[in-house]
């Protein structure tokens, strides 16, 4: 019974990892790539880790899995925001289909503060 649940969870995790790989390769823009990869990778590794917790089913493994999942969920948005801010300030071009750019001209080039 547990084997089938572990198969489903690892399958969903591998599918999300594959979607992150394809999205990172096919998306036309740095910011769209960041958007795809952070979300999909978080879910993919989270599902795999939950499958490992079901397989071992001891307290030590469960606490480790909870720690890793919480750490990934907390740090993925922060690192995505940091990378996209650095990419925007270094002058990466937006995709030509992007309709509006709210940050245009709002960053001070010298200090990096928002005006």
């Amino acid at each position: 019974m547990f084997d089938i649940i572990i198969m489903i969870f690892t399958g969903v995790g591998a599918l999300f990892a594959l979607l992150a790989g394809i999205g990172g390769l096919k998306m036309p823009d740095t910011f769209l790539r960041i958007s795809v990869t952070t979300k999909a990778a978080t879910l993919g590794s989270g599902f795999s880790l939950v499958a490992a917790a079901m397989y071992f089913n001891t307290i030590s493994v469960n606490t480790r899995v909870i720690v890793i999942v919480l750490f990934i969920i907390l740090t993925a948005p922060v690192s995505g925001h940091l990378i996209s801010r650095a990419a925007y300030r270094s002058g990466n071009k937006l995709w030509k289909g992007t309709k509006m750019d709210d940050l245009e001209g709002k960053y001070d080039d010298e200090t990096g503060k928002l005006s």
Binding site: A17, A20, G21, A41, T42, A52, S60, F71, L82, N92
Partner: protein, 91 residues
């Protein structure tokens, strides 16, 4: 189909293919930020690979390495952006 052969012949190749796709983006990437994003994604997929491998070999000690890799991924991204903001614009 047993759990062992399912993990070994379906899940691990799919994860390896996604690592290869991410590495293609790492080689092609037009800017430095693309390369950092793809390396971050490689480390996150490696956490999945380590987890599946610990199920296959029935050794839960491998999950400690996953904790270490998660820490290193976050710290490397923060360090990169810190020095990327501080660099000289004229160079």
């Amino acid at each position: 189909m047993s759990l062992y052969s399912y993990l070994y012949f379906i899940i691990l190749p799919v994860l390896a293919i996604s690592v290869i796709l991410t590495f293609i983006r790492f080689i092609k990437g037009p800017s430095v930020s693309d390369r950092v994003v793809s390396l971050d994604l490689v480390i996150t997929i490696c956490i999945s690979i380590i987890t599946v491998f610990s199920i296959i070999t029935n050794q839960s000690i491998f999950l400690d390495i996953a904790i270490m890799l998660g820490l290193i991924a976050f710290l490397s991204t923060v360090g990169f952006t810190y020095y990327f903001d501080k660099q000289d614009k004229d160079v």
